[in-house]
């Protein structure tokens, strides 16, 4: 018998994943999609498992997506956030880890403002760790759900032209997505104002351009990133009006893309800043599908990791 494709106990970043592992998550997620359509949206897969959601940074979207995924898998889950937890900034990683260990969780989902905190924690605890976003470093489940959404819509990822536009310097979404989509054979371009580009942006592994028009020319997929309004204070851009003028996605600009190009956004969207309302609500927008697929992909990840940690006794739905 051949080795199972998935043997990981942690999901820390796309950087560590092989193409086969990425495809395995996507394939597994397919079987979880229909759970949401059942009258009773629950499977017993993770019954008796404890999942801790540890959010050191405010998050509504990602934390609720994980929470729903956990509940639909029948896991017992507990949420800690910075406001309600004594696990606070200034505590050493070792103390954080010991406190978690004392509660004997099976899986820990962690979001932190600083890069590689989930990786450091994973080295220190026995439970499986899922990175739900570490600073501007990685956000692997976002990239996996994006790839899943593209594949369901387009039937494939390989060979597609994908543009990712916005604050590339400060986006974890762009880093994980470039790694994931290029690994699946897509032709990825990133774009944004020069003030929102990191040093040596080519090292991310994508083509780099500095105009929206050039990025979306002939694109099959256009992914817009959320403009973080507080970045204005760092002189990353002079005004929301000017950003929309030069980097906002409008119906007119979208004409440069391929017919049937899909529009993506990790949310929450800033209408009239990075994307015009008619585009966000238009026929090619898959923004809400991303949200729905996020639950299925996170169920798949939770299922695979719990199986790897416990010796794979979970049953598929």
């Amino acid at each position: 018998m051949s080795e199972p494709v998935w043997q990981r106990g942690d999901l820390l970043g796309v950087a560590e994943l092989s193409t086969a592992e990425i495809l395995h998550v996507l394939d597994t997620a397919e079987s979880f999609v229909e759970v949401a359509a059942r009258p009773i949206k629950k499977v017993p897969t993770l019954r008796g498992k404890t999942v801790i959601n540890l959010f050191f940074e405010p998050s509504t979207r990602t934390s609720s997506s994980f929470e729903i995924a956990e509940k639909r898998l029948s896991a017992d889950n507990i949420n800690f956030s910075t406001s309600s937890s004594s696990l606070s900034k200034g505590e050493t990683l070792l103390d954080t880890a010991r406190n978690l260990e004392a509660m004997a969780p099976d899986l820990v989902v962690i979001r932190h403002a600083h890069p590689r905190v989930p990786h450091a924690l994973a080295e220190r605890i026995a439970a499986g760790v899922i990175n739900a976003g570490d600073g501007a470093h990685e956000h692997p489940t976002q990239a996996l759900l994006d790839a899943f959404t593209i594949r369901r819509r387009k039937g494939r990822v390989e060979g597609l032209k994908i543009a990712i536009v916005g604050d590339v310097a400060h986006s974890r979404v762009v880093r994980s997505n470039v790694l994931c989509l290029t690994r699946l054979g897509a032709d990825v371009t990133v774009a944004g104002p020069r003030t929102m580009m990191p040093e040596e942006p080519e090292s991310l592994g994508a083509r780099v351009v500095y105009s929206l028009e050039e990025a979306i020319e002939g694109a099959d997929v256009v992914m817009m990133l959320r403009v973080q309004l507080e970045r204005q204070a760092r002189a990353s851009f002079p005004s929301e009006r000017e950003y929309f003028e030069f980097f906002g996605l409008t119906a007119e600009r979208l004409r440069g893309a391929r017919d049937e190009a899909i529009i993506m956004h990790p949310g929450p969207i800033n209408r009239g800043i990075e994307i015009a309302s008619d585009v966000a609500d238009g026929p090619w927008s898959v923004i809400l599908e991303q949200v729905a697929n996020g639950v299925a992909v996170r169920m798949a990840v939770l299922y695979l990791l719990a199986g790897a940690k416990s010796g794979a006794d979970g049953t598929m739905p």
Binding site: K89, G90, T92, L93, L94, H112, A113, H114, P115, R116, V117, H119, A120, D134, G135, A136, H137, E138, A169, H170, S171, R172, R175, P198, E199, E200, P201, S203, L204, R234
Partner: protein, 429 residues
């Protein structure tokens, strides 16, 4: 007889006498009285057998944080100077960012008193440029000089105000004190925690551009030219800063610079490969490979005056925080000499005499302190070096109170074999 000693049978390397060969050193009353072929020492003078060892003028680490007073849980004058002795240093210059800040002669006096009581190595306090390191008012340079301070610096922070820097450079001339600058334009370094480049980009980490150093160095060199002051650039990290220093020196200005061993040996790629280990975090950050190569070139061609450790102890609990949250700095007193011997001298980057100049003669000259030479009349401060001894860097064996080093596990050839301070052999406890 205390303070008297003959060191026999070693290979004496002393760039001030252009000496590299067998010689004996006679120390009487704490000072070198003879350096040359074997002589019969006066009766009762102890002998130190240096056969198979290099005998160098005592090494001086001109950039050290001893943390006392105020942060004794990281290091004390006692443990820091013990670490210095274990690392082959006979003297250290200590930075003023203690708690309270060394912005008053009473602090300098306190440090000197504690150093003397400890007795492991000489300590040369560096006084603050500004009260409280706040960058607003000058401290009493004259009173500090009289108390024993050898330089002024706000290290840990830059002297950010151009007006204050200009006055400091002017005023320090009265006392022939170098102004040692931690060159960092804070508006450019911002929230950065590592070098801004391809590796910070891949990690999504806030970067510190090389320009943060270069802009400040450039400003300072203009002010040095303007004032005729004496400027010393601490822990230089970029190729462009080195070019600026070279140009200012060519124009005849009184500028000197130091580099740390870690900036000579590590880069931002090592930060990446470490997985953001807090022991790879310091200011200025480990720079690009091109910067590192330029610094190594500056060592070989003489553009760089000194090597210093920037020994910055932090308690293990502080380095158990994540990379972004953990404090800046690593220790180096007990690793610098072996690193330089193995990675610079053995590799043929520089000769042994040049290393002695970088670690002893030049620091003595820049700080205006005795030492850096074994010529008769010099203080009886000697570092013995075993070029053959192989060591593995093991933080558990450090005499320092802290353990924060990125070099753990490195296997190095060449190590300190003992120190002599004022003719007294330092016996490590």
């Amino acid at each position: 007889m205390s303070g008297s000693l003959v060191i026999r049978g070693g290979r004496v390397v002393d760039p001030t006498q252009e000496l590299d060969g067998p010689a004996d050193i006679l120390i009487e009353g704490g000072r070198v009285t003879a350096c040359g072929p074997a002589t019969d020492p006066p009766d009762g003078v102890g002998e130190l057998d240096a056969a198979g060892l290099v005998v160098a003028p005592g090494l001086i680490d001109m950039h050290v944080h001893l943390r006392e007073p105020g942060q004794e849980y990281k290091e004390t004058i006692e443990t820091g100077t013990l670490a210095a002795a274990a690392g082959g240093f006979t003297a250290v210059a200590c930075m003023p960012n203690t708690e309270p800040v060394n912005d008053d002669p009473s602090l300098t006096e306190f440090m000197l008193k504690h150093a003397e009581r400890a007795g492991w190595a000489r300590v040369y306090p560096i006084a603050a440029v500004s009260r409280g390191l706040e960058g607003r008012e000058l401290t009493e340079f004259g009173a500090q000089r009289r108390a024993g301070a050898v330089a002024v610096s706000d290290d840990g922070r830059p002297v950010w105000s151009a007006a204050l820097m200009r006055q400091a450079l002017r005023y320090a001339r009265h006392f022939d004190l170098p102004v040692i600058q931690h060159a960092e334009e804070l508006a450019l370094s911002g929230d950065g925690v590592m070098h801004e480049g391809r590796f910070s980009t891949r990690l999504g980490v806030e970067g510190i551009p090389g320009a943060a150093d270069d802009v400040m160095v450039s400003r300072d060199l203009l002010l040095t030219a303007d004032t005729g002051g004496r400027y010393h650039l601490a822990h230089m990290s970029t190729a462009r800063s080195l070019d600026l220093i070279r140009a200012a020196r060519a124009d005849g200005h009184r500028v000197t610079c130091e580099v740390s061993a870690h900036h000579l040996l590590l880069t931002d790629e090592d930060v990446f490969d470490s997985g953001l280990d807090p022991n790879f975090k310091m200011h200025p950050p480990l720079r690009s490979a091109a910067d590192r190569e330029a610094l190594v070139g500056g060592l070989a061609d003489g553009s760089i005056d000194a090597i210093a450790s920037d020994h910055a102890p932090h308690h293990p609990d502080e380095k158990e925080l994540d990379f972004v949250a953990s404090p800046n700095g690593i220790i180096g007193l007990e690793t610098t000499l072996s690193l330089c011997l193995d990675r610079l001298v053995s590799q043929g980057v520089i000769g042994l005499a040049r290393l002695v100049e970088l670690l002893s003669t030049a620091p003595a000259r820049i700080l205006g302190v005795p030492g850096g030479s074994l010529a008769p009349g010099s203080p009886g401060d000697v570092t013995l070096i075993d070029l053959e001894r192989e060591v593995e860097v093991d933080p558990a064996t450090f005499r320092s109170r802290s353990r924060n080093t990125p070099f753990a596990g490195w296997e190095l050839r060449g190590a300190p074999a003992g120190t002599v301070v004022g003719g007294r052999v330092i016996e490590l406890s």
